[in-house]
Symmetry: C2
Subunit: 558 residues, 2 copies
């Protein structure tokens, strides 16, 4: 009896059923989740209190990955349908509980931002409409909207005249950029365009798009094709070189100076050397907000060098691009207006959900280098955006960028960006004043790196010879790695870790904590608390043992 | 006074404000949209009645694109924040109203499907969590979930042993596939793997990934590298060849037979010819559900030929893959289990929102050909999925596929797929019985093509000489194009149009209506009504004039 009642309740609750029949299937398309069902209640909970949902529903303390994997072991598609309420219970307990609270004020380790509330109902509108931006026939007004968003970004960077935008914004033969799932696809698109543009069609040659890269090199008489970027370039650039057939070895890495910016002299010398070796310099990439250190390359000077050597100048501003929305700090990106193309991620400092990347091109005709058509869509002369995109079917994410531009406005973004940078500077000061930490990179935007090194070790390390420095740093790397893992496992706060060459340590790579400040809810108190937590973690036996080894090496009295 | 009250109301309504201040900005991250605000009300409306929302809020009758563009003309990011309620009004009137009701039962022109209700609240959970699947540190349980979804798809296709999945499903050194934004990225990934795998590292050669395609051809002693697919291959394959540096000219197009399937004899001959010319056959692509006609290539036989010539065998099952969930029809895809890789889109016949593509590889080690690492994430030995993906940051869309697999189940999908195919057959019969239409492709899955040709013209055309057939078909193309545009503009129903070679008309390309049946709410009555609507459209003067021209050409008495 009880069982029967519960079964009937489940059917009512879930509006679905555990037997597949035609009639039942129609119901999942026609009968909504009632507010009193499990899933309906969760939906309401999120709508009323997003932060509460994330804080309450995600279990802070880390469950080991192998333990989580136990709940995702079945390798066959289930035969029989499951009740929505049962499935929702599973999702809440096994998935949501063990996901990552990336919007927590103390989660300052990756480029994850909290979402403004309006993003949730607007996302529902977007999902409900389920438009496909590849073509007008499945997106209509979304296509002009996307073009406008790209135009706004274009204007933010390149500041062209009103006439320019009047002519190009909705021009079926032009495109100011493409919207995509993220910065990696944006960077690949920029380099794809640069590659094809360099090896374009000529009498007797079909162009690289048709003839391929090997034939292009032969026709144009080059020995190889290369891309230049500083050693701080994002890993997507190596991936792009692989995908595009250029090869990772042909991503020429340029040294950085003491401020982690590209060494202009080394860049110029390398260009001259490559030219004399018969290499085609497809593109030079300036970084506006390095993934690991947040630094911005000298864009103005790079633009000059790129122009001299006839290379496409791409700026990877996936992280730092929105700095242009701040009149206080936009000068840091000076020279970006001379780029041929720029990548910006909206799911980073534009506070849009995951899956929103953009690349814009200064010249409205450049994307013609990768234009493509089909018979059933993307016909020449149509306004289908799919003619210029690497992806095919795409959701209407541009709507959320459009919304953010309007609801937050440039004024609002300026406050957010200024806050982020100010907070990074404050945190850098806290670290410098703290007797147990060493600041490794001064923040230029809102990213910085540091590590745990008690001041007496710092002082002795400074005076040590290079060999000894290297040995001590190897041990400090262990400390950094250990502490970062422990902090993550504790689940209260999170910093990430990375490893790169540091000028003051003979350009040897060292491991560091990496901090990205982009959450408006992160306060100075949050930052102080993180240093306290880390200081306590360092008192654990394992770390103390390594620190004692270091003291011995440096001949410090324990 | 009134103005002041209205202003205050707006502030209360929208929970935001038209002046950017720090305090106000915090509110957009901390104060939800109340249910009685404009946006809150819309959110509720969608939750309670998705179909009603789409039907009521989207204006059926087409507004011209230039007119829509007027609302998306501004090319500068707005300076001042806008009220959420004002912005919502704009979105509803200017964007939603003029988007496309792709879930309407009469919208049968593209691969757009309606969404089951549970997708909406589950999407909200996904957006709220805002996980980034590129790495464990920003996705945790989502990573094993995604691996499971890929494993389920792998099992559906390749049916490997339990031991195989136990060993590989959560193995940090292996990957059964990658999840991406759509079929195009999936196809590019498959061909990227095939290309790198063919030109892998050897003593004296770093491998294509590092050395690039030109060096790879030289090292391996090939004159060129090619990809083979029938003339019905999706346009993403040409794009893939461009991106990958292979070149569009090196996508070798193979003729199709009278049933729109690849001509196996022609395929084998071409392989032999290419081999003798010193070409490397990187991959051969079988189509399982051609974009335009829905046909499935003879996969078993293609697998055999691919094996003989040492080519990677990729199957593009973006559309047709889910047919494997139907025990009634899965035999149509016989041989797919011999593929090296398979593309399936979840946003097509798996009824998941836009932005969900997958590619799976039979061998769990194949994706190693495109493996990549970075210092701050994707470290070797980690379980970060970003090590194998073309994209970087990615949303947790796999959750929605996981949900659909569980809530719909294989039984549920079987009903959906069987319904789609059955409906296509019924529609084909209606067209064949109708005196005014000509069926051009018999449906194998749930896609078909037809055109408007009154039966007396059809009969005369059949007897005409090739030259006359060609002339008449050119005029009929005009009729098809004209009617399709008129039907779209009327906004009641929608079929798409395409153009391809047809065996019975001397393999000359003709324009046809294209129909994709995937909406469970589309009934036989909907289909009958579409034929009635088209028959009425054909009575318009412009079309009658062309038909009279045709009658004159064919010497038919009007």
């Amino acid at each position: 009896m009880n069982k029967k009642v519960s079964t009937i309740r489940k059917q009512v609750d879930s509006q679905l059923l555990a037997t597949a029949s035609l009639e039942n299937l129609y119901r999942i398309f026609t009968v909504p989740e009632a507010p009193n069902t499990t899933l309906g209640a969760i939906d309401k909970e999120i709508s009323l209190n997003l932060m509460g949902f994330l804080t309450d529903r995600i279990v802070a303390r880390e469950k080991s990955l192998p333990a989580i994997e136990q709940d995702f072991q079945v390798s066959k598609v289930p035969e029989v349908p499951q009740f929505v309420s049962d499935y929702t219970d599973f999702v809440m307990q096994k998935l949501v509980a063990h996901s990552v609270h990336t919007a927590a004020p103390g989660f300052i380790g990756h480029m994850a931002t909290p979402l403004p509330y309006f993003m949730l109902p607007l996302s529902r509108i977007m999902v409900a409409l389920n438009q496909n931006l590849v073509k007008i026939e499945t997106s209509k007004a979304f296509t002009p909207l996307e073009r406008q968003v790209l135009g706004m970004l274009h204007h933010l960077i390149f500041q062209q005249s009103d006439e320019f935008y009047e002519e190009n914004l909705h021009n079926s033969k032009k495109a100011l950029g493409t919207f995509c799932s993220g910065g990696t696809i944006a960077n690949i698109t920029a380099l794809w365009v640069a590659r094809n543009q360099m090896f374009k069609a000529q009498p007797g040659f079909d162009g690289l798009a048709k003839a391929g890269l090997p034939a292009a090199l032969i026709h144009y008489g080059y020995k190889k094709a290369v891309i230049l970027v500083s050693e701080r370039g994002h890993y997507s650039l190596g991936k792009a070189a692989d995908v595009l057939g250029i090869g990772r070895n042909n991503v020429v890495s340029i040294d950085t100076d003491s401020k982690f910016k590209i060494d202009l002299k080394a860049l110029r010398q390398k260009c001259e050397q490559l030219k004399s070796e018969g290499a085609a310099i497809i593109a030079m990439i300036g970084i506006a907000g390095a993934t690991e250190t947040g630094h911005v390359d000298p864009l103005e000077e790079m633009a000059q060098i790129a122009e001299e050597f006839g290379a496409h100048f791409h700026v990877d501003a996936a992280w730092g691009g929105p700095t242009l929305l701040s009149n206080t700090h936009k000068h840091i990106l000076k020279g970006i207006e001379r780029a041929d193309s720029v990548t910006i991620d909206a799911h980073k400092q534009l506070y849009v959900p995951q899956g929103a990347g953009m690349v814009v091109f200064k010249e409205a005709s450049l994307l013609g280098a990768v234009e493509h058509h089909a018979e059933y869509i993307l016909r020449a002369g149509s306004k289908d955006l799919g003619q210029y995109s690497l992806e095919g079917s795409r959701p209407g994410m541009a709507m959320l960028v459009h919304a953010a531009f309007h609801i937050i406005g440039r004024h609002g973004y300026q406050i957010l960006i200024d806050q982020n940078i100010e907070k990074a500077r404050v945190f850098a000061d806290l670290i410098k004043q703290h007797p147990e930490f060493e600041l490794i990179t001064e923040p230029e935007l809102s990213i910085l790196n540091y590590r745990y090194v008690p001041s007496h070790i710092q002082m002795a390390l400074k005076k040590a010879n290079p060999k000894l420095q290297s040995d001590v740093n190897a041990l400090l790397d262990k400390v950094t790695k250990r502490m970062q893992k422990q902090q993550r496992a504790a689940g209260k706060t999170f910093v990430s870790r990375t490893r790169f060459s540091v000028f003051k340590y003979n350009k040897e790579p060292i491991s560091v904590f990496r901090v990205v400040l982009a959450n408006p809810m992160t306060t100075v108190e949050t930052l102080r608390a993180i240093l306290v937590e880390q200081s306590n973690l360092a008192k654990r036996d394992g770390t103390q043992k390594i620190l004692n080894e270091i003291r011995e090496l440096l001949e410090l009295v324990p």
